[in-house]
């Protein structure tokens, strides 16, 4: 059985990941070590009902998925998994607005891919969160 995540065409990539599908993620762009994925605000994803702000964990899931997609779009990528991910929550995302994450795999070694990502709501000038992560990287020629 082939790894469905190794064919990152927009629809197949998200549909292959049940949790990304559950959060309603949409892969908008992927290629050349970069990815853009967005998700709608949803009352089920709220972390604090007094503010209506989406839970950090849902933003983290978006950034992690986006980081993984960016890694899979690097030349020669076969599989990947997150080693670590740090997220800085810079401001509360505005309730009701769509959140878009953009990730860039800025360096790849034989076994590791390094990723930076940001997320923003309708105000693209002021990110709601920034992330840095390390991902495992296995190459096709190693198999």
């Amino acid at each position: 059985m082939s790894d469905p995540t190794s064919d990152p065409t927009p629809r197949s990539f998200i549909n292959a990941l049940p949790f990304a599908h559950a959060l309603g993620m949409v892969l908008e762009h992927v290629g050349d070590g970069r990815a853009r994925i967005s998700m709608d605000w949803d009352p089920r994803f709220v972390g604090d009902p007094t503010t209506g702000v989406i839970h950090g964990g849902a933003v983290s899931a978006l950034m992690d998925t986006c980081g993984g997609a960016a890694v899979m779009s690097c030349p020669g990528a076969l599989t990947t998994a997150t080693i670590d991910l740090r997220i800085d929550y810079m401001r509360a995302a505005t309730p009701g607005q769509r959140i878009t994450a953009q990730a860039h795999c800025y360096h790849v070694t034989r076994n590791v891919a390094f990723v930076r990502a940001t997320a923003h709501d309708a105000d693209a000038e002021h990110p709601v969160a920034a992330a840095t992560g390390a991902f495992t990287f296995t190459r096709k020629e190693d198999r």
Binding site: M1, D3, P4, T5, A16, L17, P18, F19, A20, A22, L23, P43, R44, F45, V46, G47, D48, P49, T50, I54, H55, G56, G57, A58, S60, A61, L62, D64, T65, G68, A81, T82, I83, D84, L85, R86, I87, D88, Y89, A92
Partner: protein
């Protein structure tokens, strides 16, 4: 000396307060996260569901599910520590608790260390508040599945504490 408080009343007060705290977070309900209590010690429980899978080939839990579980556990533990103090000192009663909206800590940053693949079964997590000041708190969380000694993830987060407007 006054007689000790009946155990049923003590348990009812603590369990009701905990349920109210967890019920207030919609995203915890979406993921199916619950909490078990032994005295003031909490254990987060993430029951397995097919929706939580990230890699269907292995299969493995989605990294975002693991991060979410750890962050929910950290926030509930931090809020619980504040709530416990207020409740046990008598400053807060179940009546006043249901009237006042719970104010939750806000995450400043959160770092997750993925140690092992999240298997398609239940997960457990426990958080430890390493420092909790008037404004900032630092919390460490550990998560495991079958074996308590074999963590599948851990995290450290910093939180901005809600400002109390009473007391």
């Amino acid at each position: 000396m006054p007689p000790p408080e009946p155990v049923q009343e003590v348990k009812h007060r603590r369990d009701t307060a905990l349920r109210r705290l967890v019920d207030v977070i919609p995203y915890a309900g979406f993921l199916g996260i619950g909490f078990q209590r032994h005295g003031d010690e909490l254990t987060g429980v993430l029951p397995y569901d097919d929706m939580l899978i990230g890699n269907p080939v292995l299969p493995a839990l989605h990294g975002g599910v693991i991060a979410s579980f750890l962050e929910v556990t950290a926030i509930v533990e931090l809020s619980w520590a504040m709530l416990w103090e207020e409740l046990e000192s008598g400053r807060l009663t179940l009546d006043t608790l249901t009237e006042t909206p719970l104010r939750l800590p806000r995450t400043i940053d959160f770092t997750v260390d993925y140690l092992r693949t999240g298997l398609p079964r239940d997960g457990y997590a426990r958080a430890r508040v390493n420092r909790s000041g008037r404004r900032y708190a630092s919390v460490h969380v550990e998560a495991w599945q079958d074996n308590r000694a074999r963590l599948f993830a851990q995290a450290t987060g910093h939180f901005l504490m809600p400002q109390r407007d009473h007391g």
